[in-house]
């Protein structure tokens, strides 16, 4: 049986197996080496995990926008990272006066709610306008034109914000309650990280319920399954598409504010890198699959944060954090080699088949 399989292997299979074995070897040997060295204490490992969960929760929220739009329209919305940026900017213009007046410090819950609300309104409006003005005319166009249009929208948003607000980095407020940390079992847990992870899980849970339990969510899933059949059943596809962009835009606005509150900087190109990574996360989870996007986001965040230290320290590679994107995307490729539809994409693919 094994002999027959080996006999049927071609050059591509050999390369792929070599890649798999190589990556697994680096992961296993590197991890063992790092743990044996014992350079990091438990608190530091805990910090690595917390950092990974924090950035992962943000990637997951952004990835939801990519995956929902792809599910409904089969369009990769490359402007989604820039919609995150619009939310972060909107939040900035609310957060700064609130910080200056002392309201952000005195009434953090109300102030954060106001910042998030304005960010969500702006990012959702931009997302809906983008769909109406730029993407809808391309709805029936086959080929690469819709994708090129999405890239164009991305540049348009970036340069518009650059023109309106300048190209310098703007600093988000940093109130003392965000800088504080919880001390649990000897571990240091930054309050802002807990807030971001907790709220991200809450909002993603709500979004999941909306998609699974509401009429509009059901219609969205129906359009994702078969748009033409859904239209024949009386579903207003345009409404469903707008609803999808509303949900994606809202999550982008929230993610933009969280990203800016954690990393404290906003500028016109800030959405590009997290956007690309979140797209990777959506593909990793199985593009079109909502729980998959969430899982992919957390996976990517964790690999970025823990991976360089865990896998490369042990084999003596200098400056491992320069390679964190390489590690993250190599693992992404590995997952896709083993599961071409992504971590949770298979169920959907089978259903469609």
């Amino acid at each position: 049986m094994v002999g027959r399989y080996i006999a049927r292997l071609n050059a591509v299979d050999v390369v792929l197996w070599g890649l798999r074995v190589g990556v697994v070897a680096v992961v296993v040997i590197g991890t063992a080496g790092t743990l044996i060295k014992g350079r990091y204490n438990a608190a530091q490992w805990f910090d690595f995990v917390m950092f990974g969960l924090t950035i992962g929760s943000i990637y997951a929220q952004i990835a939801l926008g990519y995956t929902m739009v792809y599910g409904v329209l089969r369009l990769i919305n490359f402007a989604h990272g820039d919609i995150v940026m619009t939310g972060a900017f909107a939040g900035y213009f609310v957060a700064m006066p609130l910080d200056r007046s002392g309201f952000l410090e005195d009434q953090p819950v109300v102030a954060m709610a106001a910042v998030l609300l304005v960010a969500v309104i702006v990012s959702t409006s931009v997302a809906v306008l983008t769909e109406r003005i730029a993407y809808r005319p391309f709805r029936r166009v086959v080929g690469l034109a819709p994708l090129i249009c999405a890239i164009g929208v991305s540049f348009f948003l970036e340069q518009t914000f650059r023109g309106m607000f300048g190209s310098a980095v703007k600093s988000y407020p940093d109130p003392p309650w965000q800088r504080a940390a919880f001390h649990v079992l000897g571990f240091n847990v930054p309050r802002i990280d807990v807030l971001v992870i907790g709220l991200a899980l809450l909002f993603m849970g709500l979004l999941y319920l909306v998609v699974q339990r509401t009429r509009m969510g059901t219609a969205m899933r129906a359009v994702a399954e078969d748009g033409e059949a859904a239209a024949l059943m009386g579903i207003d596809v345009n409404k469903v598409v707008v609803f999808t962009f509303v949900l994606g835009g809202a999550m982008a606005g929230i993610a933009g504010v969280f990203y800016a509150f954690v990393y404290k900087q906003v500028y016109f190109l800030m959405g590009f890198t997290p956007g690309i990574k979140a797209f990777g996360a959506a593909v990793l989870g199985g593009i079109g699959n909502i729980p998959g996007a969430m899982l992919g986001g957390f996976f990517l965040g964790m690999v970025e944060s823990v991976g360089p230290t865990l896998f490369l320290d042990g084999i003596g590679i200098p400056a491992p954090y320069q390679l964190r994107d390489l590690i993250a995307f190599t693992l992404l490729i590995m997952v896709l080699i083993f599961r071409p539809h992504g971590l949770l994409g298979e169920a959907l693919a089978r259903k469609r088949a």
Binding site: Y40, S167, K170, T309, Y321
Partner: protein
């Protein structure tokens, strides 16, 4: 015999082609070609700096320095108006390549000033020199650009700013002898400037007896520095040295303060961070942060520097927004003096400038600039270096001012 004839013919052809390269236009003959500027037409001086993004202040400050130099000579030279064609290079290699290509494609580009970043100069200078255009850099400090081992394609490159071979040595001296820090970790972002400067500093620091625990690297677009800083904290360094650019450096400054184990670790950056934009981006953590920088105090600069600063304030309604304006002014003056020296006018009032003659003039001219004496060595290093260390004193960007925030703390 036949082979000898063929060989002789080849040599003759080669000599002929070399001779053909020397061009005669009007009254000027030059090996690299001649630029003719019609009567009344402008003398076009190209430039490329970072004019957008987080490091805008760096390039804009230099552009202003050049504009003041043009104003100081009356905006005209030999009866022709001076025209500055400035391109934005984004402080990266792709931008430098594009900007240099665009400037080189203009047959009227006489000479080029800038850029601010070594990342842009590294691909940009050879593209310009391929067309016989001299590039006088105004802030790119990577040692390799004027090293004795530099390639022929950099023959047209000179700079009115110091080399980081000097800056790195001065930083190591300060860390080892003044701060008395026994161990450091360095971080670079892969750019020629950051990579070479941290390497020079690390090499000098080791020679002085210090310990370099590790040399880390990031990408210029990295935002999440916490995992890297946690890793560095496990090494317990006395100082982290990171001569990177505004966005990434600001994140390191912000996130280092909240990283367990780095509370008392000193942070030191480089010359790309002297701007109000950096103070804005770095937030409260900037107070106490130090950078190695050439000495900009009036006593260390040329005697006309205070007058220049007054002119700057009058022209732009603010004090200099970064630190390389004087180098840019001197770069422009060097270009102007070189053009004056070699340009010839015919009876119709047209101006002729030989490209090789211009290059030779740039490398030969000596004068007292506002940044100090300007005199190029054979590898294009024209500036002298006086070290200093500056410390930020406030996180309010409005308080930015060289000598105030950041203030000079050494020597």
């Amino acid at each position: 015999m036949g082979a000898l004839l063929k060989w002789s013919a080849g040599v003759a052809l080669l000599c002929a082609s070399q001779a053909a390269m020397a061009a005669t236009v009007g009254p000027v003959t030059d090996d690299l070609g001649v630029i003719r500027i019609a009567k009344g037409a402008p003398i076009q001086i190209g430039a490329y700096w970072v004019l957008s993004g987080a490091d805008t202040a760096l390039g804009l400050d230099e552009k202003r320095g050049v504009e003041i130099a043009f104003k100081d000579v009356g905006g005209k030279l030999l009866g022709h108006p001076l025209k500055l064609n400035a391109e934005d290079d984004g402080c990266n290699a792709e931008g430098g390549q594009t900007a240099a290509t665009k400037l080189a494609a203009n047959p009227q580009t006489v000479i080029v000033l800038g850029p601010a970043c070594s990342s842009a100069a590294t691909p940009g200078a050879p593209i310009l020199w391929q067309q016989g255009i001299v590039d006088i850099c105004t802030a790119c400090t990577a040692p390799a650009l004027t090293a004795s081992t530099r390639k022929k394609e950099y023959d047209g490159f000179a700079r009115t700013v110091f080399s980081d071979a000097e800056q790195g040595k001065a930083d190591a001296t300060y860390i080892h002898n003044v701060l008395k820090a026994p161990s450091v970790v360095t971080i670079h972002d892969g750019s020629p400037y950051a990579q070479q400067l941290q390497q020079v500093m690390a090499d000098n620091f080791k020679q002085m007896g210090g310990k370099v625990l590790s040399q880390e690297a990031i990408a210029p677009t990295d935002v999440d520095m916490k995992p890297l800083l946690t890793r560095i904290a496990s090494e317990k360094p006395d100082l982290i040295y990171f001569p990177v650019f505004t966005a990434a450096a600001a994140q390191i400054v912000r996130q280092a303060r909240g990283t367990p184990g780095l509370e008392k670790t000193k942070l030191m950056g480089g010359g790309s961070l002297l701007s109000a934009d950096f103070i804005e981006a770095a937030g409260p953590g900037v107070v106490g942060f130090i950078i190695g920088y050439p000495d900009l105090s009036p006593e260390a600069m040329g005697q006309n520097y205070p007058k220049f600063v007054d002119e700057y304030k009058k022209a732009y309604n603010e004090a200099p927004i970064s630190g390389y304006h004087a180098n840019a002014y001197d770069g422009a003056m060097l270009a102007i003096k070189a053009i004056e020296k070699v340009a010839k006018t015919d009876k119709d009032g047209a101006l002729y400038i030989g490209k090789k003659a211009l290059r030779d003039a740039v490398f030969a001219i000596k004068f007292d600039g506002i940044s100090g004496p300007i005199a190029c060595d054979q590898y294009g290093e024209c500036s002298q270096f006086k070290p200093s260390v500056l410390e930020f004193t406030s996180s309010d960007p409005k308080t930015f001012g060289v000598g105030k925030n950041p203030k000079k703390i050494w020597p």
